[in-house]
Amino acid sequence: MNNSSSETTVMPDDQGTSLWQDAWIKLSKNRLALFGLAVLVTLILVSLLTPLIAPYGYEEQNLDMGATAPSLQHWLGTDIFGRDMLTRIMYGGRVSLMVGFIATAVALVIGILWGATAGFFGGRLDAVMMRIVDVLYALPFMIFIILLMVVFGRNILLLFLAIGAVEWLTMARIVRSQVMSLRNQEFVEAAHSLGLSQWTIIRRHIIPNTLGPVIVYTTLTIPSVMLLEAFLSFLGLGIQPPESSWGLLINYGVETMEEFPWLLIFPGIALSLTLFALNFLGDGLRDALDPRTSKD
């Protein structure tokens, strides 16, 4: 979106705008999507600034205090070790959002490239590439992660990569099936007859037309990745206390749900808010990137 202004100055107004510029214009008219975008940006900013603005340290304990309900000192209450929940949720958001976005981005890039290549060229290459996907699908995910952890040690970045390395499989399949139906369309053949290189065709004519399902799947992947991280952490393979993540907080919150409901409710709200925002933004993006929806 950055170069949009420079492009429009070169082109006179009636030359039209690119898909992305149009998408931005349409997105900015979609209130729900803008709301989602605003929430996400706020969450990301808060996460980035957490060490500066968090009211307490994330490992600051007050064992005498124990779990207390929300109060003026501790807006969202404290956990059983007397740690401030607001602080822990803010620190947890750093991990959860990072896992969500980085792992999904990894899945997105590998999945689209792999799926588009296999679908576009077809034949033997497609067969080999998709068998690799099948084999990876068949590997038990837990064993794969545990192996990685054992070999490389527990490392947060590695965790992101490992999750991404599993999630891209579905993405590759979705993109491949889309591309296979696009490949035989006449406009792709027209691009061939213009002498465009294969890569140009994939980039300009194929991938933009697969965006709809990809965006929808992405908005579904981010939350599932966040929950996956919680699961791994729960098993002791991911984040360990005193560090926190939303998934981890929710897991501990569930254990004490009846006595101290705020330990479950507040991290739950944080996660749900993110999911809502993502869905609104995802729907908005899908509509905005489809020229068939009207501009007004």
Partner: protein
């Protein structure tokens, strides 16, 4: 008394962008044993009119706003769902356009044929399976299916297009309806098959004395079989009358325009080819596809021979028409010449340069000189690119324009193909079929090619639009000094546009020659059959032809 009497029918579509009056105050009537043809271009409301009678429209957005449709005295528009089922089961049948999609691929045709008989809503009218089968087999025989006993248990994919349409007709007739609605029943079929199906409908109608409503966009098709013709445009009736009156003595401007748009007669422009210089030379070209279905690995049945040993030359400046029915390999030949389909053997040379066997990289400069116009303007444009992007892509890619000059160059292109410059930033879906085809043509001529292959460029278009696009193509050929290969199944169009014609069937060339000479004296039987099957917009000669068979 008329069996169906429609008066003041109004069907509106309530869409987000306002109310569309799809059918506005339409009245007509049909008698038993009579054929009413409803003719109009796409969007004229001809199909909506008939579907509203059978309650087949999606509601909402469609809403019947007024009028009556009396079928034997009962109003079809206000009857209950149960009564409507009765009518559909007993009285009114429909034959749809596309025989490929209107049969269920998972059921045998026999099962589909007897369905209305053994699952009849009236318990006392239910027939036994054995009886129903007997009836179905007799009917299959009547519509010209050979070996009906055996074919009864076959699945739709085991039939050809024409045979499927025969099955559809049998399916429509099995309940012995009093009214038969045919919605473009021959549009998806080859011309020789079309002639057979039209004859069949005519014959069955006479023996069974049913009323027929025949919907078509093609005046030529209805000329021979209609008793009355109703011309529709934009949801209203322009004119209703006897077939002869409509064709020979029409006073309506729109009908005149429709009749004038039918391509008839020879090419009016002279042949621009004045040299013997061959631009494109094809020698013993073979394009085979591996047959997925073939079980045996012997050499013969393993391949589908789409193009089998074809040699031809196209001289600089001429328009060569390539005619063939579906499956004749004409499109594959076009794609093989442009190196878009992998060839098996033989060679294609352009301007004395052999193209077959070149790497994709080496082909790029040649691609600039050879372009293609595709059949379906809805599929041949990237839906996510604006007109500007679509037209500028070939120019920028081949380095024929710079960022500074591109705006002016694209505008020139738009002028060339007759599009308003204000539409540059619109996306394909915002255009009509004819305008889209203009964009596609613009893209093809953008690189200033010497040779263009047009693959059925007008067969998805309405007849008046078709005439405009054909004139545009002729005009561009003239102005840009193009050589063209024009592929079509429509013989009238090919005669109208080409200097020389090649007739193709089953992957081989049957006959070739100068257009008028070939039309006057076709040598091969196949060519003669093909030429005699062309429907003409002339009721008297059409009726004579059907009677003489």
């Amino acid at each position: 008394m008329a069996i169906l009497e429609v008066s003041g029918l109004k069907v509106y579509f309530h869409t987000r962008n306002g109310v569309v009056k799809a059918v506005d105050d339409v009245s007509f009537s049909v008698d038993s044993g009579e054929t009413l043809a409803i003719v109009g271009e796409s969007g004229s409301g001809k199909s909506v009119t008939c579907y509203s009678l059978l309650d087949l429209l999606p509601k909402p957005p469609a809403k019947i706003e007024g009028g009556t449709a009396l079928f034997n005295g009962h109003d079809l528009l206000t009857c209950s769902a149960a009564e409507m089922r009765q009518h559909r089961c007993n009285d009114i049948a429909v034959i749809f356009q596309d025989p490929m999609t209107s049969l269920n691929p998972f059921l045998t045709i026999g099962e589909q044929l007897i369905e209305p008989l053994i699952y009849h809503p009236n318990k006392d009218q239910v027939t036994s399976r054995a009886e129903a089968k007997e009836k179905a087999v007799a009917l299959l025989d009547e519509v010209g299916i050979i070996d009906p006993e055996v074919r009864f248990d076959c699945y739709p994919h085991e039939f050809s297009g024409g045979m499927r349409q025969r099955v559809m007709i049998a399916m429509a007739l099995i309940t012995e309806p009093k009214l038969l609605i045919c919605d473009e029943p021959t549009t998806a079929l080859d011309v020789t098959i079309q002639a057979q199906i039209l004859e069949l409908i005519k014959k069955l109608q006479e023996t069974r004395n049913v009323a027929v409503i025949f919907i078509s966009h093609d005046l030529g098709v209805v000329a021979g079989i209609a008793d009355k013709v109703m011309v529709m445009c934009d949801g209203t009736i322009r004119e209703t009358g006897d077939t002869d009156n409509i064709f020979y003595k029409t006073k309506d401007e729109y009908t005149k325009k429709l009749l004038a748009a039918i391509p008839e007669g020879a090419k009016t422009l002279p042949n621009r080819c004045n040299t013997d210089e061959a631009l494109v030379e094809v020698t013993n070209l073979k394009t085979y596809f591996r047959n997925q279905a073939a079980a045996a690995k012997d050499d013969e049945s393993q391949f589908v021979k789409a193009v089998n040993d074809v040699s031809l030359t196209i001289s600089r400046g001429e328009i060569l028409g390539l005619v063939g029915e579906s499956g004749s390999g004409k499109s594959t030949l076009g794609r093989s010449i442009l190196q878009l389909a992998p060839t098996t053997a033989g060679s294609v040379s352009f301007n004395k340069q052999v193209l077959t066997g070149m790497t994709p990289k080496k082909l790029v400069p040649w691609r600039q000189k050879m372009q293609m116009i595709f059949q379906d303007p809805y599929a041949s444009l990237n839906p996510r690119m604006t007109v500007f992007e679509t037209l500028s892509e070939p120019l920028l890619y081949h380095g024929l324009a710079t960022q500074k000059t591109i705006a002016a160059q694209v505008k020139t292109l738009m002028d060339d193909v007759g599009l308003a410059q204000a539409q540059l930033r619109k996306y394909p879906h915002e255009f009509s079929g004819g305008q889209r085809q203009r964009i596609a043509i613009g893209r093809a001529i953008a690189t200033k090619p010497e040779f263009i292959i047009a693959d059925e460029p007008v067969s998805a278009l309405d007849v008046t639009i078709q005439a405009q696009i054909l004139d545009l193509i002729l005009n561009l050929v003239e102005r840009h000094n193009l050589t063209m290969m024009f592929i079509s199944h429509d013989l009238s169009v090919v005669r109208y546009i080409s200097d020389r014609v090649i007739i193709m069937n089953r992957g081989v060339i049957i006959e070739q020659g100068d257009t008028e000479a070939l039309w006057a004296h076709p040598k091969q039987q196949y060519t003669q059959d093909l030429l005699s099957a062309i429907p003409l917009a002339d009721p008297v000669s059409e009726r004579n032809r059907i009677a003489s068979r």
